[in-house]
């Protein structure tokens, strides 16, 4: 069985859970002997993707193929494009301008701004054009490939998925890692919603990362429940040796927030709970790891609440640094307003950190040995935070049971479920 897979990001070009999920899934599919061709938009310049230079992108529209040593059956195509997951049209516009400016310097060219280049088109028009361009390039690549199924991850790749499926006559599976409602609440971006909905309608099967997301797909996008299957994410287990001393002073307890600092992740609730915790405990620090459009707002808010000296912002962290911060943490809190799945709590548990997770999340469907709260219930978040820091047996039990439980959530099982869905669609066609 051969899969033509369309994605947004992949390690090391990673800014969130989607890349981790695509990596875990393809790796497990690879081990099951399924061959995958993975197409992703390669980011020309990303503050997050430090290894991007290794891939030496060629011309502005190019397809570079490369292989990861460890994945035998997976082949990658990277399309040079400034598209990034979790982006809004505004951010997208900025990125284009930045890139152009840089290119101008390098080539001594004379294009002064993106607006000039695109003739003053509306931002979302630009982004839409980019999505279409990605679709066109992907369809071009697909012409030279043999495959049985088209599997597209999240909205940006859906037009590409539809194009490839129509061109090849192969069944389309769209995989929903998040919806516009998760990212933007009720203020959905109509264009993105339309793309998402069109993708789901054209798909032969829709894979949701949780029952929580499945119900959004059914109620908000009007997709028939027969078509929507749930495949929970897994986690890549930590098989490294323990890290050396972190150098962080452990007289203080550390409560961790790790994720994009955006509306969806509920940084506001984290800070409000922190304020409450500090009313009854003193030796605690709150560490916020990640970046996002609410980052400065969060810094401001910490100051407004009078807890600025107790809240640390680290910005976005990678690999070893993430592990180091987990090692120093006593508790991980995920107060997401709407979280389709949420891989980070699993990583926290894998690193022996107990977790408090929002009930409005997919991961709360698969975790039992976690404390669960409503994201808006700041009192309860604070209550449970204090309890974990104050009662060692609670922390101990959560940690040991949680670490054990997380071992049962394997990408192998998620991949096996995907294969079953592949088989069903192939029979149906």
């Amino acid at each position: 069985m051969k899969i033509f897979m369309l994605g947004w990001e992949f390690p090391p070009f990673i800014s969130g859970g989607l890349g981790t999920a695509c990596y875990g899934l393809t790796k497990a599919l690879d081990q099951l002997g399924i061959s995958v061709t993975f197409v992703l938009p390669k980011i020309v310049d990303s503050e997050y993707a430090t290894h991007v230079k290794l891939l030496t992108p060629g011309s502005q529209v190019s397809a570079a193929s490369f292989k990861f040593g460890e994945l035998k059956n997976v082949k990658f195509h990277a399309i040079d494009s400034p598209l990034q997951p979790y982006s809004t049209p505004d951010v997208y516009q900025q990125r284009i301008e930045e890139n152009l400016r840089r290119k101008q310097q390098i080539r001594g060219g004379f294009v002064s701004s993106a607006s000039q280049l695109f003739g003053g088109m509306h931002y979302s028009g630009d982004m839409y054009a980019e999505v279409c361009r990605y679709a066109a390039v992907a369809a071009g690549l697909a012409r030279d490939e043999q495959f049985d199924i088209v599997h597209a991850h999240d909205w940006m790749t859906y037009p590409a998925g539809i194009a490839v499926a129509q061109m090849s006559g192969k069944p389309l599976i769209v995989h929903i890692h998040s919806t516009e409602f998760d990212r933007s609440g009720e203020h959905v971006h109509q264009m993105i919603y339309d793309i998402e909905r069109e993708g789901m309608e054209h798909a032969d099967k829709v894979i949701a990362v949780s029952h929580y997301t499945r119900s959004i797909i059914i109620s908000r996008y009007g997709i028939s429940g027969d078509k929507v299957e749930v495949v929970h994410n897994g986690v890549d287990l930590n098989d490294h040796w323990p890290l050396a001393e972190t150098g962080i002073n452990k007289d203080e307890k550390i409560v961790l927030f790790l994720g994009r600092i955006t509306m969806q992740k509920g940084p506001e609730y984290f800070l409000r709970a922190a304020k409450k915790v500090l009313e009854v405990m003193d030796n605690v620090k709150f560490v916020m790891v990640g970046s996002g459009d609410l980052m400065y707002r969060a810094v401001e808010m910490a100051a407004e609440l009078g807890i600025g000296h107790k809240v640390l912002f680290t910005g976005f962290l990678h690999g070893e640094d993430v592990r180091r911060i987990y090692r120093s943490a006593d508790l991980y809190v995920m107060p997401s307003v709407s979280e389709p799945f949420g891989i980070a709590p699993l990583e926290a548990l894998d690193n022996d950190v107990p977790v408090i997770i929002s009930k409005q999340s997919g991961v709360s469907e698969v975790l039992r040995h976690a404390l669960k709260v409503d994201f808006w219930d700041v009192d309860e978040i604070a209550n449970k935070t204090v309890a974990v820091l104050k009662y060692p047996p609670l922390e101990m039990t959560l940690r040991s049971h949680g670490n054990f439980e997380v071992r049962k959530l394997r990408w192998k099982d998620s991949a096996a479920k995907c294969v079953k869905i592949y088989e069903q669609t192939m029979v149906a066609v």
């Binding site: 039992r368 404390l371 204090v386 309890a387 009662y391 047996p393 039990t397 049971h401």
Partner: protein, 397 residues
């Protein structure tokens, strides 16, 4: 000649209200929820079952007998929330065919942590039974049938009990049958009644299980199994939660009809009869000595105490609770002492069990919490407040 000895455990815990680290008051118990559940179970189980058994007792004119152990915390709740249940138990007591047993007033695990407290709670329960039903209990059963040689020795030394009850666990009996009276090792007078868990659980757990090959269980079939004991034993001890009737097994499973017809079917065989535990103890002599050095209970397949003390949270919570004993009693403040004792109800620790958390089974039943962790957090926050009340009391005194 087997005698059938029914004993029903009647208990409802005192559920705690949601209590955060920010709460500062001394209202620990959820009166609304406790009243609601007490009335609900009264209507589904206690009232209909009491009336049914009252009918049967009158119909058989003294040939049908049962025993109850009603916890002190539930007696208090009946008085507050559901006094009509008290009057039906009173009517049962007056028939002369009903025996009341003694246990710890607070359905506690105090035997494991404080012998003084344990004896005080037994005395308090004996007084309550005497006050409400005019009986001085002669048989003791410990919370969840928790038992070992030490317990038997302690109960014998109290001098007021003729017998003690526990689980007829395979690993303490070996080849022997639970259908005889035994003597606890190290005791000279006290007798031991053992639960026939197989026949008890046929009613309590398997009655409505359609995957069970013996389903449906009818009164004549069950009476046949009882009669089969003829020649192999003196007594069949059927010990179970009273909530089996109408609550664990809903009315539509036919459990009430089963019970209505069971005495007829059992008494059809001329050698069979019903006896209260005290009558059993008087009629039969011990067949052998039973040695139980390790603690057993009637819970789960393990028949141990891991459901209450199996993880770090449970043992921490209970240790912290009993560590306060001296300080609590020193206050001589009735409210503080009563609150401390109500926190000893074993269910608080049962809710913290993570053993079968993943499977979701009998442990989930009646559990007011979403998770064992929530229950531990709540309990510890309350204990913290109780501790500070002691401290304040000591300062002001």
């Amino acid at each position: 000649m087997p005698s059938v000895c029914f004993y029903f455990q009647v208990h409802q815990p005192l559920r705690l209200r949601h209590y955060t680290v920010f709460d500062k008051n001394d209202q620990y118990f959820d009166d609304y929820k406790n009243a609601f559940i007490c009335r609900k179970v009264a209507n589904k189980c206690y009232l209909p079952t009491n009336r049914l058994l009252l009918d049967i007792i009158r119909r058989f004119e003294g040939r049908f007998k049962v025993a109850y152990s009603i916890t002190g915390v539930l007696l208090e709740q009946f008085q507050r929330f559901s006094p009509e249940v008290m009057s039906t138990f009173d009517a049962l007591a007056e028939t002369g065919c009903v025996e009341f047993l003694a246990e710890t007033y607070y359905h506690s695990l105090s035997f494991l942590y404080s012998r003084d407290e344990f004896i005080e709670q037994i005395n308090k329960h004996v007084e309550a039974i005497d006050r409400f039903f005019g009986q001085k209990p002669k048989i003791f059963r410990n919370t969840e049938l928790i038992y070992n040689n030490d317990l038997a020795a302690l109960i014998e030394s109290m001098g007021r009990f003729d017998a003690i009850m526990t689980e007829g666990a395979d690993h303490i009996l070996g080849y022997r049958s639970p259908n005889f009276i035994y003597r606890p090792k190290g005791c000279s007078k006290l007798k031991l009644l053992l639960k026939n868990y197989s026949l008890s659980d046929d009613i309590a757990f398997r009655f409505s299980n359609r995957d069970w090959p013996q389903w449906p269980l009818t009164a004549d079939k069950f009476a046949r199994w009882i009669s089969d004991v003829n020649g192999n034993g003196n007594v069949v001890n059927l010990f179970m939660d009273y909530e089996t009737f109408g609550e664990h097994q809903w009315a539509d499973t036919g459990i009430f009809d089963f019970m209505r017809h069971l005495p007829d079917e059992i008494l059809k065989h001329p050698d069979n009869n019903f006896k209260t535990p005290s009558e059993v103890v008087q009629c039969y002599e011990p067949a052998d000595t039973v040695d139980v050095p390790h603690i057993i209970s009637w819970a789960d397949t393990e028949r141990d105490i891991s459901a209450w003390l199996g993880n770090a949270m449970q043992s921490n919570a209970i240790h912290e609770l009993y560590r306060l004993e001296k300080r609590i009693k020193k206050t001589k403040d009735d409210n503080i002492i009563a609150d401390w004792r109500r926190l000893q109800v074993s269910d608080h620790f049962y809710y913290m069990c993570t053993k079968y958390f993943a499977d979701g089974d009998v442990h989930k039943y009646f559990n007011p919490y979403d998770s064992p962790y929530d229950s531990y957090i709540n309990f510890m926050n309350i204990l913290d407040n109780l501790h500070s009340r002691c401290f304040k009391h000591a300062c002001s005194a």
